[in-house]
């Protein structure tokens, strides 16, 4: 399920995954029901959603945030992530 690289960069070097604001989260589990990549899982007897598999998240996809009614999910900045990917690719090219 998890892709090993993205644009030639090891997936685990790209910090792109959802973050849950538990002050806003209503524990509706819509995120877990919505994401087909099993990024989310449930803890504490299935009561609390958590980001269990961050590297399963499709880089640049933010669809789960839109499915979240209380707007409790956020993602990193796309421009910063693109800059990081370019930087790592340049470093790899110099090796």
């Amino acid at each position: 399920m998890s892709e090993t690289t993205f644009m030639g960069v090891p997936r685990d070097k790209i910090p792109w995954y959802p973050m849950i604001d538990y002050d806003k989260c209503t524990l509706c589990m819509e995120c877990d029901k919505f994401c087909p990549h099993r990024v989310f899982d449930r803890r504490e007897g299935g009561r609390i959603p958590v980001v269990a598999n961050p590297n399963n998240c499709v880089v640049f996809c933010r669809a789960c945030a839109k499915a979240c009614g209380p707007d409790a999910i956020s993602f990193p900045s796309k421009p910063e992530t693109i800059a990081l990917i370019k930087q790592i690719r340049e470093q790899e090219a110099l090796k």
Partner: protein, 276 residues
């Protein structure tokens, strides 16, 4: 085909008041019938004729998307979905925190309707030829086609074909097969400025919602109305009649740095298929 508007009633939120206003103004501007979501939910037979003869313009106030879910449950034909909370964010202007519409809410409702009218009457599209030669990646019983020339791809399985400063954009054969039968294209608005790797709307199938990640930066100049009317075209012909949008390019050729040519994308598809 006739149109009808299904809007959230939204009596408890400012976004709902805007949704209601959008429905009223939109119905007036497009000659559409308004469908009451409460009555539709309670007695769907009341609207059976309207639903069979019309395509729906669905207006939701917030991300809970009650109207969209109601339309999906009744398997109604949806032409456009409008989400007020997204429009609020895009406008950068907060709504008045009251249930009565204030000046901001009224202005937003009118701008949503104006944009809807622009999108329902899109400008003519550019001429692109359908590809004839393909690379074929085989995995188990599946075959994934990739045009040999003229197409570039991002690693999010979205292609672009560039001609005279305009890009036509769609999804790859691999992704359409992965999604299976696509039943809805939530198109971006005409004139939207989208950066490379920005969002170009989404596709919905029985299996998943797929966010369309733009391979290029630019301004949306056209959306494929044929695909909005019949999303199955994407499954039938993902590189030809199933194209999604056209964009006037703004960051080309720099965008190419993070794009794949057909041969490199074929290797990516091989890897992805093996990792599934």
């Amino acid at each position: 085909m006739k149109r009808a508007i299904l809007s959230c009633n939204g009596l408890d939120k400012p976004e709902g008041s805007v949704a209601r206003e959008v429905a009223i103004r939109g119905a007036d501007a497009t000659g559409s019938e308004i469908i009451c979501p409460v009555l539709l939910n309670r007695a769907p037979a009341r609207y059976r004729k309207a639903l069979s003869e019309s395509s729906l313009l669905v207006v939701d106030g917030c991300s809970t998307r009650c109207a969209t879910k109601l339309a999906a449950r009744l398997e109604a034909k949806v032409e456009r979905k409008l989400l007020v909370s997204d429009a609020v964010k895009a406008s950068g202007q907060a709504l008045e925190p009251t249930l009565n519409l204030g000046p901001n809410g009224t202005a937003l409702a009118q701008s949503i309707v104006d944009e809807l009218l622009r999108n329902l009457n899109p400008p003519p599209v550019a001429e692109f030829e359908t590809p004839t030669e393909y690379l074929v990646v085989t995995h188990d019983k599946f075959e994934f086609r990739i045009p040999v020339v003229d197409y570039v791809f991002n690693e999010n399985d979205v292609w672009a074909r560039v001609l005279d400063g305009v890009a036509r954009v769609g999804i790859s054969d691999y992704m359409q097969q992965k999604l299976t039968d696509i039943n809805y294209f939530d198109a971006p608005r005409i004139d939207a400025a989208v950066e490379q790797f920005g969002e170009l709307g989404s596709l919905e199938s029985a299996k998943a919602v797929f966010e369309i990640i733009s391979p290029v930066g630019g301004t949306v100049t056209a959306v494929n109305q044929a695909v909005i009317d019949n999303p199955g075209l994407i499954n039938e012909d993902p590189y030809g009649a199933g194209w999604l949008v056209e964009m006037k390019l703004s960051t080309w050729p720099q965008d190419q740095e993070l794009l794949l040519d057909p041969a490199a994308y074929a290797e990516t598809v091989k890897r992805k298929a093996a990792e599934e």
